[in-house]
Subunit: 259 residues, 2 copies
């Protein structure tokens, strides 16, 4: 069973997709074979890794809603160790369509436990979640070993955290008692912006050890990379953003057995 990490936060634009793509690339550099699951109807992870619209005939929608075997929806990326299950707008109706199913919270977990996934030899799965505490996000939490929460260093950032933690508690009680918090990673960290210091101090005071040591600086190379269908590690390897995501991958990998 590959180590599965959900990247979730219902606050929009905090760096979920950016973290999914670049953490996955960092884990690949360390030798892991990684699968990204794009669970956001916007399909930003899929676009950021260069999956064309043509290659999204079968997506995470078909996996979760129709129960197709995972090997039929997995796409390669430019990175030989990194694969993706892409998404598109079809996924927007998934919540409604699975609402009445008995196993509505377990559909993604069941799909990722399909025997045909084993042949790919993934050691890690990273799930990019949409900006809501919807049934899709619950599916990701039920399917995951841990949750990584990107927290933007801005005023509205801390507001939604308690709600997310309540959802985690509910998922632990009802479906996935082993779900851990991998941590909270501060994103778009900008020492020139006084809000960054406030949010960081607040987060470390209230969440303590849960806040990752690695912080991700605001770095224009990070936002440019997806327009070239690359991770920032590939696009500008010596940039501050690339170095930060490498450090994040190392910090998380240090807690796991080597690939």
């Amino acid at each position: 069973w590959p180590y599965t990490i959900a990247i979730a936060n219902q606050k929009g634009g905090v760096g979920k997709t950016t973290t999914a793509i670049n953490l996955a690339a960092g884990l690949c550099e360390l030798g892991y074979r990684v699968l990204i699951v794009d669970l956001d109807p916007q399909g930003n992870s899929s676009t950021g890794l260069g999956v064309s619209a043509r290659d999204r005939k079968l997506t995470s929608y078909d996996l979760v809603v129709d129960g197709v075997a995972p090997d039929t929806v997995i796409k390669e990326t430019r990175n030989p160790r990194l694969s993706i299950i892409p998404s598109n707008a079809d996924l927007a109706s998934a919540d409604l369509e699975i609402m009445s199913s008995e196993r509505r919270s377990f559909l993604l977990r069941d799909a990722l436990q399909h025997p045909r996934l084993e042949a790919f030899g993934f050691e890690c799965i990273v799930i990019d979640c949409p900006p809501s505490l919807s049934l899709l996000t619950v599916n990701a939490l039920v399917a995951s070993d841990s949750l990584l929460v990107p927290l933007q260093c801005e005023f509205f950032a801390l507001e939604g955290l308690s709600q997310l933690m309540l959802t985690v508690r509910d998922v632990r009680r009802s479906a996935n008692p082993n779900l851990r918090i991998e941590g909270i990673v501060l994103t778009m960290h900008d020492v020139r912006n006084r809000l960054t210091a406030l949010v960081e101090a607040d987060a470390r005071a209230t969440m303590g050890e849960l806040v990752m040591r690695t912080t991700i600086p605001r770095n224009v190379r990070v936002s440019e990379a997806p327009s070239y269908a690359m991770s920032v590690l590939e696009y500008e390897s010596t940039s501050k953003g690339a170095e930060a995501y490498r450090a994040l991958a190392k910090e998380i990998a240090a807690r796991r057995p080597a690939p």
Copy 2:
């Protein structure tokens, strides 16, 4: 019937809440009496205008789901011309709860047409939407005269626009034939970032006149203001952010009769 504008874009973190608060403040400066409806379970507009948790016993959830009269949920802000219907996490379950209702897309519109709203004399209503094309966002589009789309000057920005326009077309056909596009407002516009120029050129090429003349610059005062429960117009009146939102209010007001 007050002129009603929905601020929507399913992409997260593009400046919906920031635009709702600061456009409303700009319209108040021009003499309009304005009501903000916070339709996002995160409640960022409510927090950004200083509505405490205590004051959110009755919220937009009660208005939409339970059909309480609007005058019981309206709260004052520091700005005498600006009021708000706040929200909190209760709203997260609204989509499921109204799903089976006959009038599920019209609930907000019905609520805002309640006769007891007339006594407040609002000339304009601004609706802050969550980052999804959910039933709540559809309710906002059905209740509105027009849609204002904040578009962040970043790579992923243009990707979701076609989906949003499809939703607008569906709402026009099924529930609100008069829904117009007020425009697309470029946010976090930063001339130092080469993506800004790309996104702006792309947006003006594909949407033409729909792109507002006013662009909103990335400006740290804008992100600091909500931590003081103020609009940026109040917090730092001569900042670039405040001037831009004043210009946006003027550009929109010029299309309307004077207050």
